[in-house]
């Protein structure tokens, strides 16, 4: 009887947790769906206008769709699908930089979605600047699949559940004398450890390292934070940067685009040379 009660308590507790996950923020899901549906309709209509060579009408509709998506995001309803669709809408309006920006945001929330990756690759192939972002080795991606397969919310939720399961197992061993749970709790502890490490890495990667995308057509990277400094090199729309420092209206960035090296080929110096200052207005944080 007592065991049953404890088990029921845990089940109810977990149900409470999962149930509360579906609670919406400031906009209810129904309202959000309504807006999302309208925006999608608008986008599809624009697509048809585009096919009919009515470019002006098509552009208007794409703009309208983008506004609807932005409105939805502005009301704290965050979804990978909205970011992706917004990226598409911007791309259709010829704003590849903003498109990449929103695809990157969508990618964080939808790490398993192949469409997002396909669109990013397509856009990147058309950009003026050649980028050399370091790719993760495939073997690492397979071995740490959960890291690349799950987004930060999913990993966090999984970690919490794992933590609760681990606690429950420990409790059952102590109170209910379930000795057979010993091995299971060891496995749970190992999983929890791996998940906590992954969560830490992911949180560091997403919150401590700030990245941005150049949204202006072209932009000069200067030696210092101000117009008075000489321009170092020029990058174009859609180029991705790592923001290292912020000063007034300037960001100190490390650019991922390949820069023609005027010095020797040593990698360390090359890394240093790729850094420079860029006006805030021309970059948007991912």
């Amino acid at each position: 009887m007592r065991r049953k009660k404890i088990l029921t308590f845990f089940i109810l507790f977990l149900m409470f947790l999962s149930g509360s996950l579906t609670f919406a923020g400031e906009v209810t899901r129904e309202e959000a769906i309504d807006v999302f549906f309208k925006a999608n309709e608008e986008y599809n209509a624009a697509q048809k206008e585009m096919a009919a060579k009515k470019e002006k009408e098509a552009l208007e509709k794409f703009e309208h769709a983008a506004r609807l998506y932005e409105k939805l995001l502005g009301s704290n309803f965050i979804s990978g699908q909205i970011y992706y669709n917004l990226g598409n809408a911007y791309y259709r309006q010829g704003m590849a930089g903003r498109a990449i920006l929103h695809y990157r945001r969508a990618e964080k929330l939808l790490p398993r979605n192949a469409d997002v990756k396909a669109n990013i690759d397509l856009l990147k192939s058309d950009f003026e600047d050649k980028e050399s972002m370091r790719q993760m080795p495939e073997i690492l991606k397979i071995m740490c699949f959960w890291y690349f397969f799950l987004n930060i919310n999913e990993i966090t939720t999984l970690t919490i559940y794992m933590y609760l399961a681990f606690m429950a197992s420990i409790l059952s061993i102590i109170f209910l004398r379930f000795q057979w749970l010993k091995n299971i709790s060891t496995i749970l502890a190992s999983c929890l450890f791996v998940l906590v490490i992954s969560l830490g890495l992911m949180a560091y990667n997403q919150y401590s390292i700030e990245r941005g995308v150049v949204i202006a057509d072209e932009c000069e990277i200067r030696y210092g934070p101000g117009e008075e400094y000489e321009p170092k090199f020029e990058i174009h729309e859609g180029a991705e940067v790592k923001i290292e420092e912020e000063r007034n209206k300037w960001y100190k960035v490390y650019v991922y685009v390949d820069v023609e090296s005027i010095r020797d080929n040593e990698e360390q110096k090359d890394m240093e040379f790729k850094k420079g200052w860029i006006p805030k207005a021309k970059v948007e944080k991912i």
């Binding site: 899901r29 769906i33 999608n40 979804s79 699908q81 598409n88 396909a118 966090t156 939720t157």
Partner: protein, 632 residues
């Protein structure tokens, strides 16, 4: 419900297992029956009687072991010894039995051993022994024994060997062939036999076969083991057989084969009190066994190998010597021009099947065919009585026009050493039906040019993928449970709560074991509930005095446990003081007292108590307990 289901399943499983067990049991019975039947079949066969001695020369006054062996039956009478004037019976008979199963044939043997003491010098013949079995009389071989004068003991004993062993007759080897003269390539069976006296413990057997440079050699089957009586002594025989195919002619000598082994002799040792004599340890370690090395070599053999006669040698003869037959099949027999027909030519028989050459196709009837080299597959079917086997030649032929009506005839020639002449077997042509081929379909033998016709699909336009519109998975990913402070607090406080509850429970357990008063107080409610339920059952049984007694006991026990007093000290008189001191309201005490009074009354009055009254009292008691539960 679930339990019932489980029980049914369990029963079903048991039934199934039971059925399986019964099936197994029947199978074992049937097999045993068949086996026993087989054995009786062996029993029913004729028997064989042998007589043997352990040595043919014996000193006067010594023992000679005389053994009568009955082969083939266990159920014979005991054979009777013939009247022996020159010997006296020392002991016996000791009976030994033996059963062997070789290639599903059961051999049974029963030996009757007698110890005979030689009384007179001279040459004597023991037996033959006769035995009647199933109406037939069987006779053994006679055994010759020579009794000699006793040699005086010279007092010298080889310490290591114990005593001299005359082993020349105990172990010997023989090499023989089934024929002394043979044709070249003819099969000769050579056998090497090791004779050792039955029961002689030998080990580390090593056989060095005779060199056979001028022969092709093929081992025949496994070694054979049997027993043989020679010169009156029973020997165990190990026979190794080899098929030899001479490849050169002339007088060929097979050099002697060598054989080495060790005879295990258990040494006699003196038990003296020599402290350095470690024979006891030797015995324990098995070192007391002495290995007497024996080496034997056979005589050499001379063979006359005759070359095959030149006269009468057929044209297609390819060196096959022996006795062979040939079967020929063709498949398919209805083909189109250019289609393959497989001729399967199977040569089988006795001889060196490995070296047989391909049979020849008759030139007449071969025109109009295209031939391909034959695939050969050799199988040795028997290795027991010489090499027997078959060689299958699969030859592919292709008819080139539709006028062909049959396959060519096939002939095979060999030399028969028994008939001493060449033989030729010719198969008849096999009728076939050849049709005109269909229109020729060009066959591309190489993939040349294929790449030219294939090309990658050209990308017409590069465009982004369409928008996502799946509403089912559409949700607010910005709102997550872990971002709620209350939840996070719960998560962080959970371990602390866990620890506190652990400590509390541990303390509770300890107190239950160490503090009697605490334990009584904690266990009072559960004990009371149990007693109450037992008391309730007494209402149904219609035994009011017992019911009232039980109810009063429940109440007093409960109060005693709660107040940590002996149950006997809770009486109607002092209960108000006891409970009043512990803060129980006077109303509750009054109710309790009333309840206890009615219990006393009920216990000792002879009046009839209706069931309703009992239930009322019970309910009152329950209420009183509830009140006490709150106040104590």
């Amino acid at each position: 419900m679930q339990r019932k289901k489980n029980t049914e399943q369990h029963n079903l499983a048991l039934k199934r297992i039971g059925k399986k067990m019964i099936k197994k049991f029947y199978t074992i019975i049937i097999l045993t029956f068949l086996f026993v039947n087989n054995l009786t079949a062996v029993h029913a066969d004729e028997i064989e009687l042998t007589a043997s001695v352990d040595k043919t020369t014996v000193e006067l006054g010594s023992y000679v072991r005389f053994t009568i062996g009955v082969h083939g039956a266990f159920d014979t009478d005991q054979p009777q010894l013939p009247p022996l004037e020159s010997f006296s019976l020392g002991y016996g008979p000791t009976v030994s039995t033996q059963t062997k199963i070789v290639n599903n044939v059961v051999y049974v043997y029963r030996g009757f051993s007698y110890g005979l003491i030689a009384k007179e010098k001279g040459k004597f013949t023991i037996g033959p022994i006769t035995l009647e079995y199933k109406g037939k009389t069987y006779k053994s071989n006679p055994v010759n024994v020579e009794v000699v004068e006793r040699t005086p003991f010279d007092g010298k004993i080889d310490k290591r060997k114990g005593k001299d062993i005359d082993i020349s007759k105990k172990i010997f080897v023989e090499l023989s062939t089934d024929k002394k003269e043979a044709y070249i390539y003819e099969q000769i069976i050579r056998s090497f036999k090791l004779y050792f006296q039955k029961g002689l413990p030998i080990d580390d057997l090593e056989y060095v076969p005779a060199s056979t440079k001028s022969f092709l050699v093929e081992k025949l089957g496994d070694e054979r083991r049997y027993e043989e009586v020679r010169d009156g002594i029973l020997y165990s025989v190990i026979e190794l057989r080899t098929a030899l195919f001479p490849v050169v002619s002339g007088n060929i000598e097979i050099p002697p084969a060598k054989f080495k082994c060790n005879i295990l002799i258990r040494q006699q040792y003196r038990r003296n009190w020599d402290p350095f004599d470690n024979s006891l340890f030797d015995e324990f370690l098995g070192r007391n066994e002495y290995r007497y090395p024996v080496e034997r070599s056979t005589n050499s053999l001379k063979l006359k190998i005759t070359p095959l006669p030149v006269s009468g040698k057929p044209e297609g003869f390819a060196g096959a010597v022996g006795k062979f037959t040939m079967d020929v099949y063709a498949k398919p027999t209805e083909v189109k021009v250019g289609d393959p027909i497989t001729l399967s030519i199977n040569i089988s028989g006795k001889g060196n099947i490995q070296t047989i050459g391909e049979p020849t196709l008759a030139p007449e009837g071969s025109e109009g065919f295209e031939f391909y080299p034959a695939e050969v597959n050799t199988t040795i079917t028997d290795k027991e009585e010489g090499i027997k086997g078959e060689k299958l030649f699969s030859k592919v032929i292709e008819p080139q026009h539709e006028n062909i009506k049959a396959t060519p005839a096939i002939s095979f020639s060999f030399f028969d050493p028994v008939l001493e002449k060449y033989q030729t077997i010719t198969s008849k042509p096999i009728p076939i039906m050849v049709e005109q081929s269909d229109m020729e379909i060009p066959i591309y033998l190489s993939l040349e040019g294929v790449e030219k016709t294939k090309a990658q699909a050209r990308i017409l336009t590069k465009d982004i993928l369409p928008i996502m519109s799946d509403l089912y998975s559409f949700k607010n990913q910005g709102v997550v449970i872990y971002k709620r402070p209350l939840f996070m607090a719960l998560i962080f406080f959970a371990p602390i709560l866990f620890i506190f509850s652990c400590v509390y429970l541990q303390r509770h357990r300890e107190l239950l074991q160490t503090d009697v008063s605490y334990a009584r107080k904690r266990r009072a409610p559960s004990q009371m509930k149990k007693q109450l339920s037992n008391t309730r059952q007494l209402i149904q049984h219609g035994n009011p005095p017992e019911f009232y007694a039980a109810l009063a006991k429940t109440l007093t026990d409960y109060i005693a446990n709660k107040t940590d007093l002996p149950p006997a000290s809770i009486t109607l008189e002092n209960v108000s003081d006891t409970l009043g001191n512990r803060g129980v309201s006077s109303g509750t005490v009054e109710k309790l007292k009333q309840c206890l009074e009615s219990c006393d009354h009920g216990r000792f009055s002879a009046r009839h108590h209706p069931k309703d009254q009992l239930e009322d009292t019970f309910k009152t008691a329950e209420n009183v307990i509830k009140l006490l539960e709150k106040q104590l």
